[in-house]
């Protein structure tokens, strides 16, 4: 095996992962809408993978990709139909390929694909016997030649990537491209710059010169062709070529670098400190301005303003770098939906929109957890079996739509299905069985409010327990996960027409808007996403109930009123004259505090060992004057009198 350098390895892994993901998505699409262009596309992915694996000396991976390529070629030539069985087999290959790439990346033992390769060739064999055909496209013939092409794209070329892609298409028409740098995926992503290196296997010299002619017809391409000497191994040339490329291409050519999350967090922390110092600086300058009315203060103010602006931009830019497109989450769903639908004998189509919407990397895991759950629910409880759908006058295939968008500092993800919807009467019945509602309450509850009961813990309405959704964890788990990341969940359902769940989550976790309140003579921060209202308690309607419990009547709604100092277990530091209405779980509660200092963008800092497990606080933040304010976790706070 060719020894790959760390950089080469990373490059190969990134490239291979991309090709594998493309293969997977394409295969899922193929089952649904098998058109010729798609088959050709899939063939190309397998082909590229075969080439790059071969070049990296990964013989087994290359063989597996080759076997896939053969199958796809048969489909392309119309010798084989697309069946679920075929897609299954090819998806199995995708899984093994992915495992192989992962093992390679982590330096672990490679899984052995030989069994699968044999299965694939048996698949092929069987077909060949049936159709009795002798021509096989991807085989070596005697007159075959190999050429290395160095294609330079002139700087005046307006769209180098488009041109590079055209060149790639031309070459693939004439022969088999065994090596291409940059790879097709990079070219398609618009990252081809000024040079393209390709290795092409061609049937004869004639086609080589024709191809060269066609390429040079573009005025902005300069083509250098090098025919390969007999007996020289392709891999040798490719490796040599890569070396030439690496030494020739300046470092500046790198379009992206990998940075560890820890490093990013360290940078973010530094910027957080800078933000704090900026506030101090601004205050200092204001003081200078008060003392000294002449030019110095003005000059300082000008500089401070510019520095402030730069710091804001820096903060924004850095927060951006932690953002990843939602595609990282969504990419796995087509496969998930296919598998779930099959296991439940349902037909489901998945539509995804807005996968370019970006989200903080730190939120990805939780969001994924929630979405997987919602998808399972939609398929298991929402979408009806095909015959039931037909009987209801719906198309036999159900539809699940996932769409993401960004608005006002939040990311909104909507999961919509066109299934049977949630029956509010079933919910009412269940809530009564569980003792959550009396009959009277249940009947006076409107449908929308009744449906909200599915967010109560342990609530599940599907009569029999299915393998997929299981029992116990339900919508309450999704709600809890969303709240953990400062998000909200909203559900609407119409019986017979389907269910829509809207998730709203913050763009980033590191910096949040917060309300600074005075409790026990010091400042605490409350995350704004939980705060709904601030009011003057002196002018509010407060009623005392028997045992000293207080109730704040807000626009006719009685809300329990607690002293935040008491909840935190600290002595209060003055009259608690201000009320803050917050959302805790699904309820609104009122909290009395000694005062409100204002709203601020705060940087969340972990409390650190050994306070990391404290439930009442998310963390702490450093205020403009260098003092510390603890950030209260309103969901973690234990409510007691």
């Amino acid at each position: 095996m060719v020894e790959l350098s760390q950089d080469e390895l990373e490059l190969f892994v990134t490239e291979a992962e991309e090709n594998i993901a493309n293969l997977e998505n394409g295969l899922l699409k193929l089952e649904r809408e098998g058109d010729a262009a798609l088959v050709a596309e899939l063939f190309r992915y397998a082909h590229t993978l075969k080439g790059s694996a071969g070049a990296a000396g990964l013989v087994e991976m290359s063989q597996l990709a080759h076997a896939m390529e053969n199958l796809l070629d048969e489909v392309r030539n119309g010798k084989r139909n697309v069946t679920s069985e075929l897609v299954d087999t090819l998806l199995e290959c995708v899984d093994v390929l992915r495992a192989m790439v992962l093992a390679l990346r982590d330096g672990e033992k490679q899984p052995d694909p030989s069994l699968l390769v044999r299965k694939l060739s048996a698949f092929s064999e069987e077909q060949r016997n049936q159709s009795d055909t002798s021509d096989q496209k991807v085989s070596m013939s005697s007159g075959e030649i190999c050429a290395t092409l160095n294609i330079f794209i002139k700087p005046e070329c307006q769209m180098p990537s488009a041109r590079a892609f055209q060149a790639y298409l031309i070459m693939s028409r004439y022969g088999e491209i065994t090596f291409l740098d940059p790879p097709v995926s990079e070219i398609q992503a618009g990252r081809a710059k000024y040079r393209l290196v390709a290795q092409v296997k061609l049937p004869d010299d004639n086609s080589l010169s024709e191809m060269e002619q066609e390429l040079t017809r573009f005025g902005d391409l300069v083509v250098e062709v090098q025919r390969q000497k007999d007996g020289q191994k392709i891999s040798e040339i490719v490796t040599a070529q890569r070396e030439v490329e690496t030494s020739a291409a300046p470092q500046a050519e790198l379009q992206s670098v990998r940075v560890s999350i820890e490093q990013m967090d360290a940078l973010l922390n530094l910027v957080g400190e800078l933000v704090i110092e900026r506030a101090r600086l601004e205050r200092g300058v204001r003081k200078v301005a008060e003392l000294n009315g002449n030019g110095i203060a003005e000059e300082l103010q000008g500089v401070t303003e510019r520095v402030s602006r730069i710091v804001s931009q820096l903060q924004e830019a850095l927060t951006r770098t932690r953002m990843v497109p939602l595609n990282v989450v969504f990419a796995r769903f087509p496969r998930l939906v296919r598998e779930l639908a099959r296991s439940m004998n349902k037909r489901v189509q998945l539509k995804i929109e807005g996968e370019d919407t970006e989200i903080d990397r730190a939120l990805v895991e939780k969001l994924n957890e929630c979405l997987v759950h919602l998808i399972r629910n939609a398929i298991d409880h929402g979408i009806e079996p095909p015959d039931e759908r037909t009987a209801a006058g719906k198309p036999p295939e159900g539809l699940i739509e996932i769409s993401a968008s960004q608005s006002e500092g939040s990311v909104i993800v909507v999961v919509r299905d066109d299934g049977r919807g949630i029956d509010p009467n079933k919910i009412r019945r269940k809530a009564m069985e569980r003792g959550l509602l009396t009959e009277e309450q249940a009947s006076s509850l409107n449908d929308d409010d009744a449906i909200q009961f599915i967010f109560r813990s342990g609530f599940s309405t599907k009569e029999e327990v299915s393998e997929v959704s299981g029992r116990g964890v339900g919508m309450d788990a999704v709600k809890a996960a969303m709240e953990q990341i400062g998000g909200t969940i909203d559900l609407h359902s119409q019986i017979g027409a389907g269910t829509t769940v809207t998730l709203r989550l913050p763009l980033t976790l590191a910096i949040i808007p917060a309300l600074l309140v005075r409790v026990g003579g010091r400042l605490f921060a409350l995350p704004m996403h939980s705060v709904t209202e601030v009011l003057d308690l002196q002018r509010s309607d407060i009623q005392e109930i028997g045992t000293g419990e207080k109730v704040l009547v807000l626009r006719g709604n009685p809300l329990p009123l607690f002293s935040l100092a008491k909840l935190l277990g600290i002595p209060n530091g003055g009259t608690e004259g201000t009320g803050v209405i917050v959302r805790q779980q699904e309820k609104l509660i009122a909290m009395s505090v000694e005062g409100v200092k204002g709203k601020d963008e705060i940087v969340i800092k972990p409390l650190g060992y050994p306070l990391h497990n404290l439930r009442s606080f998310i963390g702490a933040t450093i205020l403009g004057d260098g003092s510390i304010a603890l950030i209260v976790d309103l969901n973690g706070l234990t409510i007691r009198r």
Partner: protein, 163 residues
């Protein structure tokens, strides 16, 4: 032969270690210097509601939040008054934790074999946190085990006491 000298020095270093000697209620204690990052004077320690009783609070250490332990309470030898304290910043497994001390006496170079295991004179909960005892200038110094001072076991014991 510079190489030989280096080797000898290395051997010598292996046999010696540096410790920071500090006092709590007049009693000398020590911590290996490898675990001590710095010593800072802290006046504004913010108490954290609900934290274990031996946690004095948190401080702003150059933009980082760090917990400060009341070392006397942790070791069960009294209590530290809050207004202005000397904090020894210790690094334990990449984590920074502050420990209050009354005064820092010296940094001493000692022979590794000068540290003797503690006898059964002290109760087991306390012995766990002590690596050993050594004689320095005619006095007995307890060398604390930084890795065990605040480990899970200690935390659990502290939390169960609280409830």
């Amino acid at each position: 032969m510079p190489q030989v000298i280096e080797e000898k020095q290395e051997q010598k270093e292996k046999q010696e270690r540096n410790i920071v000697v500090f006092r709590l209620n007049g009693t000398p204690f020590a911590l290996d210097i490898q675990n001590v990052q710095e010593i800072v004077q802290q006046s504004d320690i913010v108490s954290v509601p609900g934290a274990p009783p031996f946690i004095l609070g948190i401080v702003n250490l150059r933009g980082r939040i760090m917990a400060v332990v009341d070392t006397k309470r942790l070791l069960g030898i009294g209590e530290t008054s809050t207004d202005k304290v000397l904090v020894m910043v210790a690094q334990i497994d990449e984590r920074l934790v502050g420990f209050t001390v009354d005064e820092v006496e010296q940094v001493a170079r000692i022979a590794s074999d000068a540290v003797e295991p503690v006898s059964n004179l002290i109760s087991s909960e306390e012995t766990r946190k002590i690596e050993g005892v050594l004689r320095l200038g005619g006095k007995l110094v307890l060398l604390l085990d930084a890795n065990r001072l605040l480990d899970e076991e200690t935390l659990e014991a502290a939390m169960s006491q609280q409830h």
